[in-house]
């Protein structure tokens, strides 16, 4: 298969960055951080990616600017219930079957795989499918973080129609979504289908071009996630402060250090909604803060004033280890650092804010303000 990729692809193999096992460990940590509290656990995906690598399938990343304008690129992501993914482990070639079915239906051959969502477990799926297909993964993604639904990618926001798409399960069932009336319809139909397939499937969206990605994908996602993970690993080895290392790596800001003093959480329509309240420690002694949650961390307020909101990244980290704490792992008494990272400008346009801004998540009275405008 690798041979086929070299013959037909629109890129120079010399440009490829072939990942090693340490990169994968770093990616697990980094994509956990970019999950902003959600995105699922990358652990099982990491194990599968590592096995693929050890079985002789290279995991390779292609820099976005090395991609040919006419390259055909397909984005891939897992869809479904985390509890199913955790129990009914994947057969392993679901992603590859999606790619092949799409190629067959469109009568094309695909040049590269794209990541739909770098935050959390979906950072790993494109690497695995691409490795089996003998293709590289482009160093970019559609979110630059994690969001709960498919229409929340920059691809969809900037006009890419994600159908025709293909969903595959482990039995060999292959469903083609020929056409969706809107990106939201696609999301709804996909959710219904994934339940029929047993609650956890893979989905490949219709191809984009290299030219489109260069304009509308969040660039350098893998480079960023792996560098983040490496910074944490290095800080840990050197007994340095991993939170500081993350901020330095990403030009992020520690907007709060505190202890969780109250936690409200409820499950509604498949989403975990809630709020974590914090009391300041160290230099934030005397301050209070809160993080509003819907699967991911959405709005951060300090002393009653909103300071950071989606789509900027609000990351809750364990003070000691720098490990990202997912929303279901939050606990009373935890000492956490809250780090804010600016999202990519593509997520801040008016069109993007309608889909991924505070109002899209029901925070009608919150106006998005980029964190760079926060008083220092």
């Amino acid at each position: 298969m690798a041979e086929r990729a070299l013959k037909t692809s629109n890129y120079d193999p010399a440009d490829l960055w072939v990942l090693n096992e340490e990169d994968l460990e770093a990616l697990e940590i980094g994509s956990g951080i970019l999950g902003t509290g959600g995105g699922g656990n990358p652990y099982l995906g990491k194990l599968r990616a590592r096995l693929a690598m050890r079985s002789g399938y290279p995991l390779s990343i292609l820099p976005l600017d090395r991609l040919a304008d006419d390259a055909r690129c397909v984005s891939i992501g897992a869809i479904g219930a985390p509890v199913v993914a955790y129990e009914r482990l994947k057969e392993g070639r679901e992603g590859l079957r999606c790619v092949r079915a799409l190629e067959e239906h469109l009568n094309i051959s695909i040049d590269a795989i794209v990541c739909e969502e770098i935050g959390g477990s979906n950072s790993m799926e494109p690497l695995i499918a691409a490795a089996f297909a003998g293709l590289p993964v482009v160093d970019c993604d559609g979110m630059g973080r994690a969001f709960p639904e498919m229409q929340m990618t920059t691809f969809s926001i900037y006009g890419h129609r994600s159908t025709p798409s293909v969903m595959c399960d482990l039995h060999g069932n292959t469903v083609l979504f020929q056409h969706a009336a809107s990106e939201l319809w696609h999301e709804r139909m996909a959710r219904a289908c994934v339940v029929a397939q047993g609650g956890s499937s893979m989905l490949a969206s219709s191809p984009t071009t290299g030219a489109f990605l260069k304009k509308y994908a969040v660039p350098h996602s893998y480079t960023q996630a792996i560098a983040l993970g490496r910074a944490v690993l290095k800080a840990r080895r050197e007994h340095a402060d991993p939170v500081a290392a993350i901020c330095e790596q990403e030009k992020g800001r520690t907007v709060f250090m505190g202890k969780i003093v109250d936690l409200e959480r409820q499950l509604r329509g498949g989403f975990v909604l809630g709020e974590a309240k914090l009391a300041g420690i160290d230099s934030f002694n005397g301050d209070s803060a809160s993080v509003m949650i819907q699967n991911e961390n959405l709005v951060f307020s300090r002393n009653g004033t909103v300071e950071v909101s989606v789509p900027d990244l609000i990351i809750v980290l364990d003070v000691d280890t720098g490990i990202a704490i997912t929303t279901e792992m939050l606990r009373y008494g935890q000492r956490v650092a809250i780090v804010a990272l600016p999202c990519h400008p593509l997520l801040r346009s008016q069109a993007a804010l309608e889909v991924v801004g505070p109002k899209a998540f029901g925070f009608d009275d919150v106006v998005f303000r980029p964190i760079e405008e926060m008083p220092a």
Binding site: A81, P82, Y86, R88, K90, R191, G199, D262, Y332
Partner: protein, 519 residues
């Protein structure tokens, strides 16, 4: 009638004799290589100190870290056939995939994937391939593998295929011990499977150890039944340990927490068990340790059976105290450990430890205080402040609510604990040094149900909870609990995200006094 509680730790074996609510005697002995001599020494000491007639001992309860240590040290581990029912699902990640190499080698690489398993809604992924199981049984016999562990996708929802597969293997491998994963772990296939494999690998050791305990007790002239404590602080009959040794994992910290609850009468508290090198910290809820909600690492393997939510910090009575060039003072995690009786300043040694700091500041009186009379006061104050802040952070991490609850300090190093910790009251019970043996002696019998229920066709949450409670009660009764003492200590229902059919996971646990407990 009296009860004898024994805690077999890695270093010490403790024994206590109890009569009703009273601790008559407590004794520490060194744990011996063969377990038996240490147990006999401790129990003989406790019996003679209490001055009782040993024929009046009605029950013996033993807590042991023997099986955890076997995994950690990779000793006495047997080869296991790891059989998974689930194809075509799960083939991307075979059994043992993330085990450390040396432990995977210890259980052998006998892994088998078979067609079968369930979807989340109970449909079969594929019909169970019984012919393949027969071929696997032949392979097991040919390779002389000592035990088997069977794991089926979604067996916590439906255990039929696991049971059927077990019957097939047993039929074709007479006498082979076979473990099914649904008896051990929860949803989360790899973790549950790992726990089942680990359990199977310990079965021969379990049989030997239970025999050794029985022999030690018989040699000491005790013919009463004996029980072993599980990781939730309740008892299982010795014969059950032969089938489920992993259920004893982490019973050490659990017993000391249960002992702390008993000795203080407090049911809601944070327990800090301070040893020589580390402190174990956990929360009591209804007098039982709060259970960890997530995966637990045992010997480098992720598992998900229920374990107490206890974590350790590198602070103990033997932790080193150092002053850095800039004047900063560090405490631990290095420690003189059990050598404290020689190396700490107050014992005539030359190493500055946390115990020396406590003595220098007049907060404890052990050893020779004059040896630390010349210790720099500012240094001692700084070290003490550091110790207090480490304990404070650890306690805060274990708290689940803002309500002020007491902190119970047990273990030999509890002299480090100040009289108050921030806003929290600190309690130091009598007999704090043998709290774990007390925890074993007072252990109860439990019954548990943890299953996914579909809330459909008129089944409400309340009906299912009631049904689960009845089943759990029946299990406790059949294990020997006294009916009128049974109470529910855990009841939770968690709706499963993104799934139709109102799938809800219900977990109920009841405990009761053991029959014959009141003599």
């Amino acid at each position: 009638m009296y009860r004898l509680g024994i805690d077999v730790g890695g270093t010490n074996t403790d024994a206590v004799i109890m009569e009703g609510q009273h601790v008559l005697s407590g004794v520490k002995a060194s744990t011996s290589e063969n377990v038996t001599t240490g147990v006999i020494e401790a129990l003989e000491g406790a019996v003679s100190k209490a001055g009782i007639d040993r024929s009046k001992i009605g029950t013996v309860m033993i807590g042991t870290t023997h099986f955890t240590n076997a995994v950690i040290e990779r000793k006495h581990i047997s080869h296991v056939a790891a059989i998974r029912l689930g194809l075509p699902a799960t083939s991307s990640l075979p059994p043992l995939v993330d085990w450390p190499d040396d432990l995977a080698a210890a259980v052998g690489h006998h892994t088998y994937l078979v067609r079968g398993g369930y979807e989340f809604d109970g449909r079969a992924i594929a019909p169970l391939d019984e012919e393949e199981l027969v071929r696997i049984a032949q392979d097991i016999r040919a390779k002389n593998v000592k035990a088997a562990a069977i794991t089926c996708v979604f067996s916590p929802i439906n255990s039929e295929m696991e049971k059927r597969a077990k019957a097939v293997i047993e039929k074709h491998c007479p006498g082979l011990p076979v473990v099914i994963s649904g008896d051990i772990g929860r949803i989360g296939l790899l973790e549950r499977e790992s726990a089942a494999i680990m359990n199977a690998s310990l079965l021969p050791l379990a049989a030997k150890t239970v025999d050794a305990f029985g022999k030690a007790l018989a040699e000491a002239g005790l013919s009463c039944p004996f029980f072993i404590t599980q990781n939730d602080g309740t008892l299982m009959a010795a014969r059950t340990v032969r089938s489920f040794p992993v259920l004893t994992f982490a019973s050490g910290p659990t017993n000391s927490m249960r002992g702390a609850a008993f000795l203080t009468g407090r049911k809601e508290a944070i327990v800090v068990d301070i040893g020589g090198t580390t402190s174990d910290v956990g929360a009591l809820h209804h007098g039982f340790p709060r259970q960890a909600a997530t995966i637990v690492d045992v010997g480098g393997v992720r598992t998900n059976f229920r374990m107490p939510d206890v974590f350790s910090i590198g602070l103990g009575g033997g932790s080193l105290v150092r002053e850095l060039a800039g004047g900063e003072v560090t405490v631990g995690p290095q420690s003189v450990g059990y050598r404290i009786a020689k190396e700490a300043l107050v014992f005539g040694g030359s190493t500055l430890t946390t115990t020396d700091v406590a003595v220098a500041l007049g907060k404890a009186s052990v050893g020779d205080a004059s040896k630390v009379a010349g210790l720099d006061r500012a240094l001692a104050e700084k070290a003490h402040a550091k110790i207090v802040s480490m304990l404070e952070n650890a306690v805060e991490r274990s708290r689940v609510s803002a309500d002020p609850i007491p902190v119970i300090a047990v273990g030999g190093g509890s002299i480090l604990m100040p009289d108050r910790l921030g806003e929290l009251e600190v309690i130091r019970p009598e007999n704090f040094a043998v709290a774990n043996a007390v925890g074993a002696a007072i252990a109860q019998i439990s019954g548990e149900v943890d299953r996914v229920f579909a809330l459909e066709r008129g089944l409400t949450r309340e009906i299912c909870l009631k049904q689960a409670e009845q089943e759990a009660t029946e299990r406790a009764l059949s294990a020997g609990a006294v009916a009128e003492t049974i109470q529910v200590i855990e009841r939770e229902d968690v709706p499963l995200a993104y799934l139709p059919g109102n799938a809800t996971r219900i977990h109920v646990k009841v405990v009761g006094e053991m029959g014959g407990y009141h003599g």
